[in-house]
């Protein structure tokens, strides 16, 4: 069940070209959604303005090498290990979802474009990695949804009162949950059930990528930029924060 390419098995009722076109459409949706979000909210103008302010307030100059090393640090810490989260549980849950999503997304694209039908046998590691990705997302995501959402855990909001901020996590979880359900149902063999669960999966996935403008997906791109800018500010002395105390750790 978990070792066969679920997308290849779709060809029973769906031509492979359909999924390939769908992938391309979703990529476009994310790009257009992010661009639209940036334009509509003037985010690009805002970042440019911030950069200008930092440069003006800078008291130290940075060499190209320094800047590059900061960029690498940002990628290594903020991007690779979700370093922006100070709460360890959130950090772990986010990493589970982030890397899970990477595995899931990349293997999906490889399977749909590289192994579109049952004609070419799919190497078994691909669907296994796909399922690992799916599981990581589900574990990290449901953990986050039920236990780690700050508006519920700290602000007293009821568990199932959904707000706009939940759009991303709900569409992600519903999409990936139905990916999993569809895979199982399809393996069991009932065609009608397969079509229905697959249909819901596609619906939720479209919602996920189509709602970039309103969800937090665009922050995937903003956050590393901001983290980079912050480190730059610290290094160039343009931060308005006091410098850390030079006292040795007392006690």
């Amino acid at each position: 069940m978990f070792t066969s390419n679920p997308f290849a098995d779709l060809t029973v009722f769906l031509p492979p070209l359909a999924m390939q076109i769908y992938i391309v459409l979703m990529i476009f949706a994310v790009i257009i959604g992010t661009l639209f979000d940036m334009l509509h909210k003037s985010s690009a103008k805002f970042f440019a303005w911030q950069l200008k302010k930092s440069k003006a307030a800078a008291t130290r100059k940075l060499s190209g090498a320094d800047t590059a090393s900061i960029a690498i640090k940002t990628i290594a810490i903020e991007v690779a290990t979700s370093g922006e989260f100070c709460n360890q549980k959130r950090r772990i849950s986010h990493m589970l979802m982030f890397y899970g999503f990477l595995f899931y997304l990349i293997t999906t694209i490889v399977m749909i474009f590289g192994y579109p039908t049952q004609a070419i046998p799919t190497p078994v590691f691909l669907p296994i990695l796909w399922n690992i990705g799916v599981l990581m997302i589900l574990i990290g995501g449901y953990w986050f949804f039920f236990f780690l959402r700050v508006n519920v855990a700290h602000d007293g909001q009821p568990l199932f009162r959904l707000v706009l901020a939940d759009l991303f996590i709900v569409s992600l979880l519903s999409s990936v949950t139905f990916a999993f359900i569809w895979e199982i149902v399809q393996a069991v063999g009932n065609l009608m059930a397969t079509k229905v669960t697959f249909g819901i999966y596609i619906f939720c996935t479209t919602l996920l990528f189509g709602s970039v403008r309103w969800s937090k997906l665009a922050h995937m791109f903003y956050k590393p930029v901001v983290a980079f800018q912050r480190r730059l500010e610290e290094a160039t002395g343009s931060s308005s924060l006091p410098t850390p105390s030079t006292h040795n750790k007392r006690n």
């Binding site: 700290h154 602000d155 007293g156 009821p158 199932f160």
Partner: protein
Amino acid sequence: MGLFTRRKTVVVDSDILVIGGGMAGCGATYESRYWGRDLKIVCVEKAHIDRSGAVAQGLYAINTYMGMQWGENQPEDHVRYARNDLMGLVREDLGYDIARHVDSTVHKFEEWGLPIMIDPETGQYQREGKWQIMIHGESYKPIVAEAARKAATKVYNRIMVTHLLMDKTKANRVAGAVGFNVRTGDFYVFRAKAVIVAAGGASHIYKPRAVGEGMGRTWYAPWSSASAYALPILAGAKMMQMENRIVLTRFKDGYGPVGAYFLHLKTYTENAYGDEYESKWYNHTKELVGDYIDKLPVPTCLRNHAILEEIKAGRGPIRMVTKEAFQDPHKETVGWENFLGMTIGQAVVWASQNIDPKHTNPELTTSEPYVMGSHATCSGAWASGPEDCAPSEYQWGYNRMMTIDGLFGAGDTIGGAAHKFSSGSFAEGRIAAKAAVNYVSDMGKDQPMVSETECEDLKKTIFQPMENYAVGRNEIVAGTVSPSYILPIQGLQRLEQIMDEYVGGISANYITNEPLLTRGLELLDMLNEDLNCLGAEDLHQLQRAWELRHRTIASECVTQHTMFRTETRWPGYYYRADHPKLDDTDWHCFTLSQYDKDSRKWDMEKVPVHHIID
């Protein structure tokens, strides 16, 4: 509440319930554990104990420290000082009691980790003034809260206590309290053998000077919602000196503290033209208050009075002369750190307006009135005094017990003990706690019981504003204007305007008279009725609604007392224009009130002031 969920009730049993986790509450919690090793000690706080109360941002000085170990002061000296400052009217027994215990409290603070500045020459605590020592107190509250957390059986954060519960088996005895969880909306019933009220005094009962965002920059914490008074008032406890509101002269807009400036930096004030003005008003003030003007240091209210007169004469604003002092780098550092450790907002104001005291003498202003019990003022509940020195009229049972059995108080809650400040409030919490432990052990098997029906009724009452909003909201399209409910902020603004215009607020130059007070009571009565129509959209608004309820009943008490005392005892705090002079013949006494919540009647009486210190 969801469609399918019922509001949960949580019942918490304890031997001693401490209401409020501020300085007094933390002191009470700590001491309760010391004497009651096996007792269940519960502390309940509407915010978070680590930063709750007036000391949230820290303090730069401890204003009540005798220094007995170095022969600096004796407790009776402090009693004389507080008595003078309050124009003769303080509970000398309570003041003596706090003064003799405060030193050990401060020494414990130091042991726990509070950085107290040391005078390099003497090796003793760095004095700011005769009673004050200087501290690096940014973490004063978290340190003290740690001591309380180690002592308590449990600390409940984010639970607002709204009412006390009375014993259904014995008249006039407390049995606990009720409240609600500000995060979850759960109803809480605290059943206790003894209750120590250590809640906050009254800020935001008078219209503040700034009315936009600036409303938040009250001198006293905006979360001091008069629960210290409302809880005992509604339970029928006697209150004292509620007319004794305080007005403070502080730095303009930020209300930043001036103590370190006057005492340590040795700055002084002048009028807009650079002239000294206080001496100009000596004769005039003497006509009003007689020999009290000759006390040294000059009573706080009389210093205010001189400022008010000078401003009325058109020679304001009054400024603090800092240019000289700030040339000294050490003094400049103290001048700024004074704010950073205590009233950061003042630093923000000066930074925003480019005010550097090295080059500018900053403006001072007089604040709107506040009612509290731990500063240069002593409003609060009438409490029994220490067994060894309280006159018999001031003693009817356990130390710091109010006129309700088992109901103790500390800090702002207790009246008559002026100038206790943070350390004195903590010490008073300790005093009340030891007494409460004794009360509980003496009680034996005869324990109070709460009434289930009363709890059910209170549950409905507490959450009524949410019901009002949910139902009433259907009437209008949107917005804040409804004919059927008022929002807590609307009620608060109305309360503040009534008090401001009729009970001696800033727009009235702190002046009132009987016709104004009578009208004020009428308007307060209508407001009280309208509070049944409070509409709370969510739990945060519900907290605001109950804070308003507490503020309103406290304000009614303040107005009744102000009406009752037909003299002007504290010019500079407020004036009875129809009785403009101090009258020691008829009014060298305390005013006491007792409220009956069913008949809405206030019973006023005079009680003699016993001077036990010469």
